[in-house]
Amino acid sequence: MTTASRRLARLLPLTAALGVGAVLLTACGPADTGGSGGGNQEGKFTYLGQTENTTILNTLETLKGDQCAAAEEGAPLTADSIPGTTWDQQLQLVASQDSLSNLSMAAGTPSLMQDFIDAGQVLNLSDALEDLGVADKILPAAESTIKSLYGEGDLYALPTELNIEGFWYNKQLLADNGIEAPATWGDLIAASDKLLAAGIQPFSAAGKDGWPVTRLVGDYIARDLGADALDQVASGDAKLTDPEYVAAADAVAELGATGAFGDAVGSVDYNAAMNTFLTGKAAFFYMGSWALANFNDEEQNEIGVDNVGFFPFPAVEGGAGSIDETPANVGIPVMVSAKNYDEETTGAWLKCIVENYGDTVLAESGVVSGFALDNPPTDLPETTQTVQDVISNATAGVLWFEAKFTSQGTTVSQQNGGGLANGTLTGADFMKLVQDANDAG
């Protein structure tokens, strides 16, 4: 035997061991669809949610031990979660294998939900709730928001949240600098310049996530051109690259170029932006009312909950939109899989959730949902009360900037939001990127 072949002989057992190991590892892989995706499991009520959102699951857990105990007996709740960053991606894979969970958070992109609806993956809730006799339990405002979101005449998701969006502000910082809550975009710019001159960061925004910046563009369009301006883009009657739309992106880009969003806005994520506002390092924070949970949390909120004020997105001088049209959304609602719907088990859960979710989530987490309330709590926190007042006074809802975009359009818009906020992208460049992405998808 030569040295080489002896060496080879010594390596053989190692190679064999590696080979066997590899085979074993493959055998240990997920054999069924019940892995991280949740999937259909006979005799169980499966729920799949985003890891970051614990409210829905906590509420379901409460319900299963109380009002939904009978449904739980028929089909025990089995929950699983996936991080939100890859949500749509994973949901597509699960759906393409016909194994969506009985209940799961809906796709983040409405156009993807439309694909699911067209493919018969998602249960028509208008029919199902009618059959169960609980159709009147969904608030009309929430129902119309969901219908217009998915462009369908029927309801395909349950409104586990009903949010409004606008500017939250630090009352103390504004009072110290002699600034009133701005009512027009011009006032907002003036306030921003005044704060910058005083060495205070005017806005806190998550440029890394992008959407908190692109929301400003969408709202500006709604105020300047009217609430239906983005519908015209969706229907092809207008393009984002038209000068009147570019003006909105330019307005935000100009604000970004002054440094109003801070020095490193491109690297700031959602939590960091929230933290900047709640530690008093920025005066304004554009966010949805879901942030109330953070505002009401004394550990996070160092500026104090009484110090947080709210004003709607300001009017644009000479614009066609009204300040009373409130940017509203239903967060990420939940959908029911049509593939394995069974009125006995899933139906029992569905009926119970629709009847009891609204009261439970408001009492437990202070979240305003789109379900009708049977026993509204009497001692709501002041900020939650403000949100409810704004919802009841709003004349019409406005969807967010990307609501009617394609998956690609949504991704490209949000990826480039940071560029608008740090002034590296002009409004025209931004709108061209997004319009091209919408055209491609």
Binding site: S96, K208, N275, Q408, T411, V412, D436, G441
Partner: protein, 294 residues
């Protein structure tokens, strides 16, 4: 041995299972993906035949060309840097540190064994600008400079990715090239030295020509690896800001799985394969003459 390999049945028994496995997990998906290039859609909405529309779309898609440009730029810059630094380190090991190089080799090789995601997190913290100030910006601040938002701008993001990959991979190329360098017979080097060649002249006329085959392998290895970069970019910048650091691989992944367009995603994958093939052929062609002469 000849007897065994001459027997057709023995060949079938020995190669059959491996070939079957290879066909099932490599060839079938490759041809499957090739088939997707003439379709539009995904498993949820179904597929429709579109002929060569996806290819036409690729040639007119500015995002795709941005991705090609980033991929090529990244592959060239990183290949030049990592092979040169690897070669310099290998020269250092062989001619300067000699037998004492073991410890240094281990230290320089260490980043290779670290998981990419861990290294990316490390670099994110190193170059962090907000919410807390990372070490690099702290040093800048110390010298009176303002913090730089490294991941907020295309150029700085590009160089941070290059730096990360260079740090992570030069140890590997150093070891690969070291193996080539120690194979150069000592007597040839000795006679060259006696003829008066030393330092740079020795490296240029003796060491480089004699280590050319392994150098060439390194370059092909490096260029193919860097053209297919994925994990570093996803973990460090996720293709941002905007799509400034999006290579073809990430664009392909997004198109297929986030935008639900399997057909166009497969077309991008095919374009990447062709790019890799062309570059490899180009390198082979440009060096073949030298190899036969040498």
């Amino acid at each position: 041995m000849d007897k065994v390999l001459g027997d057709k049945r023995a060949i079938l028994v020995l190669l059959g299972p491996a070939l079957l496995l290879y066909t099932a997990i490599m060839l079938v998906p490759i041809f499957w993906s090739l088939g997707y290039t003439v379709f539009d859609g995904n498993p949820i909405v179904g597929f429709t035949f579109t002929g060569f529309d996806n290819f036409a779309r690729f040639f007119q898609d500015p995002t795709a060309w941005n991705a090609v440009w980033f991929t090529v730029r990244y592959a060239l810059v990183l290949t030049v840097l990592q092979v040169s630094f690897g070669y310099l380190l290998a020269l250092l090991y062989v001619f300067w540190l000699k037998r004492a190089s073991g410890a240094i080799r281990t230290i320089v090789f260490f980043p290779v064994v670290l998981p990419t995601v861990a290294v990316a997190l490390l670099f994110q913290k190193l170059f962090e600008a907000a919410p807390s100030t990372g070490p690099v910006n702290s040093v800048l601040n110390l010298f009176g400079q303002d913090s730089v938002d490294w991941f907020g701008f295309p150029t700085s993001s590009f160089w941070v990715i290059i730096l990360l990959d260079l740090w992570r991979s030069m140890g590997f190329y150093a070891v690969l090239l070291y193996a080539g360098l120690i194979d150069i017979p000592e007597d040839i080097l000795e006679s060259a030295r006696l003829d008066g060649a030393g330092g740079w002249r020795l490296v240029r006329t003796i060491v480089i020509p004699l280590s050319l085959p392994v150098l060439l392998s390194s370059i092909i290895f490096s260029i193919n690896g860097t053209l297919k970069v994925f994990d570093t970019v996803v973990a460090l910048t996720n293709g941002g800001p905007g799509n400034a650091t999006t290579p073809l691989t990430v664009y392909m992944f997004r198109t297929s799985f986030a935008y639900g367009d399997y057909g166009y995603g497969s077309t991008i994958a095919l374009a990447l394969t062709v790019l890799c093939l062309l570059v490899t052929l180009a390198i082979f062609r440009s060096t073949r003459r030298d190899l036969t002469k040498g």
